[in-house]
Symmetry: C2
Subunit: 229 residues, 2 copies
DNA sequence: CATAAATGATAGTAATACTATTATATTTGT
DNA sequence: ACAAATATAATAGTATTACTATCATTTATG
């Protein structure tokens, strides 16, 4: 049920794909296969030819769904943020205290991702790893301004805006809510990468979720009003 | 003089290049030309063929200095962080107060970069833009672990360690100094990118350096000891 | 069941990311 | 000043990548 709702919830901007991959069996194999392959070989070595081999379909058929691997990466990132927004809306529903909502939002956005029972076609743990390692490459390109005009990054911006609003509820005078939240979201991804590959850039303690702990502490301290009476 | 000192100061790990580009006229043209070209076309569309045209030397000659454009990007990033470390050492020299040293370090690491008068072969403003837009691509690859073993990222790690130490001087109980500083350094680069291309992820105010202001405020609040007596 | 639409199979192209070879400069040691 | 070593230029070539095109075959739809 949860899964069905997720499928319904996660909407990806139509300009990202040529043909909606959720609309056919081949499309779904492309998405599932690309997650497996990109997690395994990385974006640079990922090719539509290899993906074709992986899913037993010709390279040319994949091009009917996505113009390029860049667009496919945009699709995966966008899907991830759409799913995250859904998690957020669900996780904050009926929580009246703004403080509680912020704490929950930070947990959701900086925490680890594990696969739900319901055998979805999308492996969330692998997708999270892809987002960690590859998603910045989706917007650090010369095409960013054109794609932004097309609304490709709208989901991500909405997510940032949503959490920024909670911060403003708690402290209407805080001047940098968007910077704080985008710093946190990007930072949490980076810190998880560093923990795996460049641990001296972090303070990871085995068995503890120091990433969430760090950002929780940082944000709550940062938005405190100057004079608490 | 400043420039001469910079040339002497900035050392790049030898494993990054096949032949030190500082050792010849062609090498220097490769570095200067690559900064111009990469800033203009971006890492994805940057090729050694185009660079060859730009500097009027054959593509094959460039390969005698750098194995690949990935290594060249590593060189530029590494050079930048080496230069930053130099700026830091210089900027913090003879400043006894740990608090002042931290404030200066945050300014240096999150601030804008402009070209010095001394007509260096390296255009720092362009290099800063390259670091903003492309440097994450230098470590978000499958080669990161091998390259890390070779010490390719040592300069960057040293920089983070250096500022972390200042934080520990101010608050020996703060648990996440490395996370805080790496979040700040990467975050400041990202925020400058967002300000240009995805402004709704920031709170940029025209004419003000909100990036430095934001991180200054965030860090000083975050490392405050819980109970100030 | 006829028609349209999607997919498969195959081929082809321009560009990329290199490597190799040889000729011509340029530097270096004596 | 000159031979030897070294660096660069000029050119060619290869495997792979990132596509596009064509046509046959399968699968869905009215």
């Amino acid at each position: 049920m949860q899964d069905l709702l997720q499928q319904v919830q996660v909407q990806v901007n139509e300009k990202i794909y040529l043909k909606n991959p959720e609309s056919s069996d081949l499309g779904r194999r492309i998405v599932a296969g690309s997650i497996e392959l990109m997690d395994r070989v990385g974006f640079e070595d990922f090719t539509f030819k290899k993906l074709g081999l992986q899913i037993n379909s010709p390279e040319a058929s994949i091009y009917r769904y996505f113009e390029s691997k860049h667009k496919l990466l945009l699709y995966l990132s966008s899907w991830y943020w759409g799913w995250m927004e859904y998690q957020l809306v669900f996780g904050l529903a009926n929580v009246s205290s703004a403080n509680d909502r912020l704490v929950r939002a930070i947990s959701i956005l900086t925490g680890t991702v594990s696969n739900d029972a319901g055998m979805s076609l999308i492996d969330k743990a692998k997708l999270h790893r892809i987002v960690i390692s590859e998603s910045t490459k989706s917007y650090l390109t010369k095409a960013v301004d054109d794609e932004n005009k097309d609304g490709i990054f709208a989901t991500y911006k909405k997510l940032v805006a949503r959490v920024s609003d909670i911060i403003l509820e708690l402290n209407p005078n805080y001047r940098y809510p968007h910077m704080l939240i985008s710093t946190m979201i990007e930072g949490a991804l980076h810190q998880r990468y560093f923990a795996q590959h460049l641990p001296r850039l972090t303070d990871v303690v085995n068995g503890e979720d120091t990433v969430t702990d760090f950002y929780m502490d940082m944000i709550l301290k940062t938005i405190q009003t100057e004079d608490v009476n």
